[in-house]
């Protein structure tokens, strides 16, 4: 009898689970048909934001944020030996945290420290400074390299995160990221609706 139960159990589980599996599958949104003609122009808007120095300068692979702007003669490594931090947190090192200088608001002094809540480097797996449009596009679609997010989560992160929002209001005479948080959110939504196509690798 015990043997019969053991043999029946897997089948019973499959039979019991089948209706749930069917229900779950029916709730999955149908994947959008890929429309590169519509999708790629939307991605270009997103890439213009993600690759802009106000965003990319803190998505760095070598643990050292960058400074960019007319006064710096291009892009250079952040001064003061500022780094991600020995604990990998992105909030700096003991004795010199990001928040030692970066507070909740932008300094009004020329070359003073910009500020927003929770100032820190992007997580190490979310680095894309210097990467191509195709590379960043593939990365944004990969939860292992986008902070464990769905594309919808990415869109909401861009629209709602206060540190991300700083990129459009960087203070002093810094060049803001193009467009706005809402426009970038809309571009991501439109790109998703077009099947989230990525440009061909160069």
């Amino acid at each position: 009898m015990r043997k019969l139960l053991i043999m029946l159990t897997p089948a019973a589980i499959i039979l019991l689970a089948a209706p749930f599996a069917t229900a779950q599958e029916s709730q999955q949104p149908a994947p959008a048909a890929v429309d590169t003609a519509k999708g790629l122009p939307e991605w270009d808007k997103v890439y213009a934001v993600f690759s802009h120095p106000r965003c990319a300068d803190c998505h760095v692979a070598d643990d050292r944020p960058r400074w960019s702007g007319a006064h710096y003669g291009g892009t250079r490594v952040h001064g003061f030996n500022v780094q991600r931090g020995a604990d990998g947190s992105g909030f700096g090192n003991p004795g010199l945290r990001c928040t030692t200088c970066h507070f909740s608001s932008n300094s009004k002094a020329l070359h003073g420290p910009p500020g927003a809540e929770n100032w820190h480097l992007a997580p190490a797996e979310m680095v894309w400074f210097g990467k191509s449009s195709a590379e960043i596009c593939a990365q944004i679609k990969d939860p292992a390299r986008n902070g464990g997010r769905s594309l919808q989560d990415v869109a909401l992160h861009v629209r709602d995160d206060k540190l991300v929002a700083w990129g459009w209001a960087p203070g002093a005479d810094r060049e803001p990221a193009p467009g706005s948080a809402e426009e970038t959110y809309t571009a991501i939504e439109n790109w998703m609706a077009a099947g989230a196509p990525c440009p061909a690798a160069q």
């Binding site: 020995a86 090192n93 003991p94 004795g95 945290r97 507070f103 002094a109």
Partner: protein, 153 residues
């Protein structure tokens, strides 16, 4: 607006956007923290808020929500803080203008890293500039302070 500075409360009348350094020096009377660059680029103005180092020349006083410790508040009962003691023993200061900020960053480092390596020191102190070039003595003093602190001296 009420500030707690070096264990004492102070009621001040200040614009919330006034840099904390102005409030400390001009309204509270704590002249230990120094004005250097005014843009958080030299470290002379470093104080602690909630135990964490901040550049008080750039922090709006309205954003301060925790107790403040200045260079004037790290010694207790007439006994120098181990970092101050080490600074004396190593004769770190030349002109001395940056030293209050240097010491406050070193104190913060030792609160988190009891026995710092050269890299730990470089990573903590990179935002504190010294025009006299006392960096080798600063490093030696931090190592001595770590030993003094560990020994409970």
């Amino acid at each position: 607006m009420r500030l707690t500075v070096d264990g004492q409360s102070f009621d001040i009348d200040a614009d919330p956007e006034m840099p904390l350094l102005w409030a400390l020096r001009d309204l509270v009377g704590k002249t230990g923290p120094k004005f250097g660059c005014g843009i958080a680029a030299c470290g002379a103005c470093t104080v602690h808020v909630d135990g964490q180092p901040v550049r008080s020349c750039s922090l709006p006083v309205g954003e301060v929500s925790g107790p403040i410790t200045t260079i004037e508040g790290i010694s207790a009962g007439g006994k120098l803080h181990p970092v101050q003691q080490a600074w004396l023993e190593e004769q770190v200061a030349q002109c001395g203008y940056c030293q209050a900020g240097q010491i406050m960053s070193a104190v913060a480092l030792l609160e988190e890293v009891a026995d710092p390596s050269d890299d730990d020191i470089d990573n903590a102190m990179g935002g504190n500039l010294c025009r006299c070039g006392t960096y080798p003595k600063i490093r030696a003093a931090i190592k001595k302070a770590a030993a003094l602190k560990t020994a409970g001296l």
